[in-house]
Symmetry: D2
Subunit: 268 residues, 4 copies
C-alpha cells in the first residue's frame, strides 16, 4: 500500500536495490522493467517492483518472501566488481571522521583499485566536492568507472592514470589524501605538496613493516600527529537460544595511519 | 612562508584550531585576535597565528614547538562539552557507511545529549540535508546547540524537546533514524512511522540486554535484516624501540544495532 | 644421528607422534612397527621412525620432508574424537592458572563430552591427583575413555554416568569443579557441597544468558569473587612479505565464569 | 561451622590466604597467630582465622565482611614483588598447554625476573620435575627466591646466574625452554643444544620486531612449526543494570612464539 510518505521513495528503473531473502541470499541489482532473479529459494519477477516503494515485500514463485531494500554505502562497497583486495566499511567509516572532510571537500585517492573507496568519498563530498583518483593501471580505472557510475557517483570523481610516486599530483590545496598502495612511503613527499597545511594524510596497509616505514617517512617530512590504529568489527548474533559473538569471522584487514601536514616558517 | 596554495587555508578569527604540542597536550580553540593559551610547556600567544596558514608551527615562550592543525570530525566530537556519555568516532564512522545517508539526507537523532552525534550527522548531510534532533531535557538541547554552533553546523540541525516514545516524530520520509537512548525498543514503532521504506534504523547501547530487547521488537515490527556489531579500535605505537599495540585502552563502548524498514502490501 | 641426550626421547611403539609436513598437513598418530601414512605430498613409512629420537626428519616417497614432533597438550585436545563442541586450549590454559590446582589435586569435571578437558586436567593433577568426570550419556564416556587412554592419562580419571543436577556428586573436599554443561546454574548447589571452602568453581558457556543466570545463582549461593572473562587468541603471521595478524579465524568460543566458595559461620 | 570435609582445608600458620573484601580490596597474606590487616573498610584481626577452614567469613571492626579464600596460581603471580614487567596468567596458561610439559618435566626458564613464571612452572612440574631458572642479575635471583619460597615451590627450582647467550645452559634433554628476555634470538642456538628433539621453545616479546627476528632465527636453526599468537583477555561485567564488557583495560601484553626442535639425520 503506497502512502504519501513513500512518494520520492519509489523504485524506478536504474535504482540500485538490495534484494534480501536472508543473510546468505542478498543481491544488489539495478531495477529495470524486465528483470528476473533466481535463487535456490525461487525465482523473482523484479519487473513487478517498479513503482513500489523501497521496503516492498515480494514473493518468489516458491512462496518465499523477499525484501526490496535501500542499499547502504557499505552494501555498495561490498558489491563492486573487484580486481583487488577490498577496503572495508569499518575502516572507511573510521577515516571519514578521522579527517576534516565532508560535502564540498577536494580529496585525493591513490590506488583506485576497484573504485570502492573513491565511490564512498565521492558520495560524501557531493554535491560540490571532488575526488581525484590516481591509478597506474588503465584497466583498473575502466572497471572502477563502471562501479562508480552504477552507484551514481561518477560526477564527483576525476581519474588520472599515473605513477604518483614519480610524477606527483596535478591538484593542490587538497583536504585529504588517501593512500591504498603497497609502498605508501614513496608517495608521502608528493602528498605533502598537494595537501593544505594542517590537513590529513591517511594510509592503509595490511603489514606492520609497511606501517613502520610509512610512519618514519611521515615523521621526517613535515607531518605531525602521526597515529596508527586498527579497527576490528565483531558481529553479535541475537537468537532465540542466546546472544553471543559470531564464532568465525574476519580477524584482520589493515592498519590505518593518519598524519597532518605542517607548514614550518621559512628560517625555522 | 605563505604559498599561493595556502590561500583559502588561512587561520581566521572564529576558526577552530587544534593546537598540538604532543599526544598529551592538544587543545581545541577558537581563533581570535587576542588569545593566550598556557601549558606546562610554556605559554602561547595565539593572536599571532591569525593570518597564518593551517599547519603553522609556533613556539611557546619556553621554546617548545606547537602546531596549529585542522581539527578532524573526531576531534570536534571529543571536544564537545559533555553532560552524557560520549559516542565514539569509530562507532559513528561505522554507522555513516552502514546506512544510505549522505549530503542532502534528512535524518533523525534521538537522544541529543551533548550534540556530538547530531553535529557529525549535520556535517555529512550538508549543505541541503537536515538533522532533526530529539531530546527530553531542555538544558541538554541548550548545551548541544552551543557545541554544534561552535563547530559551524547549526544551520543543518533542528531540535525538538520531546519524549518520542510517547509523542513520536514530527517528520516523515526520513532516510535514517539514530537512537542513543536507554530504552531504544520503546521508540521502534514511532521510528517506523517516520522512516522511508527500505531505509535504516540504527541504535547503540552499552548492555547486552538492551540489544536483545531492541532486536526482538525490531523483528516483530516491520524491520528486517537486523544486525548487531561491535567496533573495537586498537591503537598501535610505532616507536624507535619497537612496534606494538598500546598496553591499556578502551575495551568497550557500545553495541551497534542496524535494521531496515519493510513495507508489507495491504493484505499481506 | 642419535646423541646421548636423545636417550629417553626415542620413539617407541605406543608413543603419540605429531607428524608434521606443513601447517595444513599435521597428523597425530600412535607409533607402531608397521604404520603407513598417506598425504597428497606422498606416503610415509612410519615404521622406520621407531627407535629414532623425537624431532626426526623423514621423507615421503615424493621427497617431501616430514617431522616427527612431540604433540603438545593442545594438540592432544584438538585431535580427540569429538561428539560435542570442543574446549579450546586458550580457555583451558587460562582456567588452569585461575584456580589453585596442580599435581595432586582432586577435581571434578562435569560434562565429560569428548574427554578433552578431563584429559588435560588428568595430565596436570598427575601423578597423585584425580579427575572425577561426570556425564549423563554412557556412550560419551566410552568415547572419552578411548581418547584419554590414547593420551596415556586414564589412570588419573574416574567416570560417573549421572545427572549431577539431580543426584549430585559422590566426592567431597574437591579442589575445583569445572562445568561445561548447557545449564551450569542447575549444578551450582551440588558443586558447593563437593567443594572445599575458599576453592574454585569454573564454568564455560557460549551465550550471555547462560553466563548471567549462572552468575546470579553463584552470588545467591555461597560463592564470592565471581568473575567472567573471555579469552581471545589472535594468530600472527610472520612471513617474508610482512608481519600481520591472520585475516580470518575463530572469533568466539566461550565465556569463562570463576567463583570461590565461602563457608559462613553458623549464626551468621 | 567446621565440617569433616574441611579437615585438611584448615588455615594454618604459613598458609597463603587471599583476604577478599571486594574487587578493589584483595590482599595476599601469610597466615600467622598474630596478624592484623587494615583497610579503609576496617581492621581485621587475622589471628582469629587460624584453625578455620578456607572460605571463612570474618568481619572488620567496622562490620564489613571479609573472606579468606584460597589464592589461585594467577593470584600468586600478580602478588609477587616485582622488579620487572609481569608475565600475565592468560599468557602463561596458554603456553602450559601449548607445550608437552606437566608433572615431572624438566624445563628451563630464561629471564627469571621476579620469578613469577618459574613459580608457575615449578608448581606444574611438581613433585618430581625441575625448573632451571637463568638470570644475569644476582639481585633478581634473590628477590625471585623469596617470591617462590613464599609460594611454597622452591624445592622445584634451581637458579643459575649467567648470561646464557654467551655461556649456554648446563642441562640437557630439557622438555621446554621458556624465554622472557629482550633478545630471544640470541639464545636460540643455546636453547637448541639443551632441548630434547621434537620438544618446545616458547618466547614472549612485546614488540613485533623482536618476534620477527626470533622467528627468522628459529626457522634457520633446526626449529619447525614456528607459530606466533597473541592472547587477549576481555573481562565481562555482570550487573543488575546489564551485562557488558569492561570499558577500560589491558589491551596488549606480549606476543607468544612457539617452535619445535628438529633432529636432522647426519648427511641430510
Amino acid at each position: 500500500m503506497m502512502t504519501p510518505m513513500d512518494q520520492g521513495n519509489v523504485i524506478t528503473p536504474g535504482d540500485l536495490i538490495l534484494v534480501y531473502l536472508d543473510v546468505k541470499r542478498q543481491y544488489l541489482v539495478e531495477a529495470a522493467e524486465k528483470l528476473n532473479l533466481s535463487s535456490d529459494l525461487g525465482n523473482m519477477d523484479l519487473g513487478e517492483v517498479i513503482g513500489r516503494p523501497f521496503g516492498y515485500v515480494g514473493e518468489t514463485h516458491l512462496g518465499k518472501k523477499y525484501y526490496c531494500l535501500k542499499p547502504s554505502t557499505a552494501d555498495l562497497m561490498f558489491k563492486v566488481k573487484r580486481r583487488t583486495t577490498i577496503v572495508y566499511p569499518k575502516d572507511v567509516g573510521y577515516v571519514l571522521v578521522e579527517t576534516a572532510i565532508g560535502p564540498g571537500s577536494r580529496v585525493i585517492d591513490v590506488g583506485t583499485g576497484s573504485g570502492a573507496l573513491a565511490m564512498v568519498l565521492a558520495k560524501f563530498v557531493a554535491p560540490d566536492g571532488m575526488v581525484f583518483s590516481y591509478e597506474r593501471r588503465e584497466e583498473f580505472i575502466e572497471n572502477a568507472k563502471c562501479n562508480i557510475e552504477r552507484a551514481g557517483c561518477l560526477q564527483n570523481v576525476k581519474f588520472h592514470c599515473r605513477d604518483v610516486a614519480i610524477e606527483g599530483f596535478t591538484e593542490q590545496a587538497i583536504d585529504a589524501v588517501f593512500l591504498d598502495v603497497a609502498e605508501p612511503w614513496a608517495v608521502v613527499l608528493k602528498a605533502a605538496d598537494a595537501l593544505k597545511g594542517g590537513h590529513y594524510l591517511v594510509s592503509w596497509s595490511p603489514n606492520v613493516e609497511q606501517v613502520k616505514r610509512t610512519v618514519e617517512v611521515l615523521r621526517e617530512n613535515q607531518f605531525i600527529r602521526v597515529r596508527v590504529s586498527e579497527i576490528l568489527e565483531r558481529e553479535i548474533l541475537v537468537r532465540q537460544q542466546g546472544v553471543r559473538p559470531k564464532e568465525r569471522g574476519i580477524t584482520h584487514t589493515a592498519y590505518l595511519v593518519r598524519a597532518q601536514k605542517i607548514v614550518p616558517q621559512s628560517g625555522k
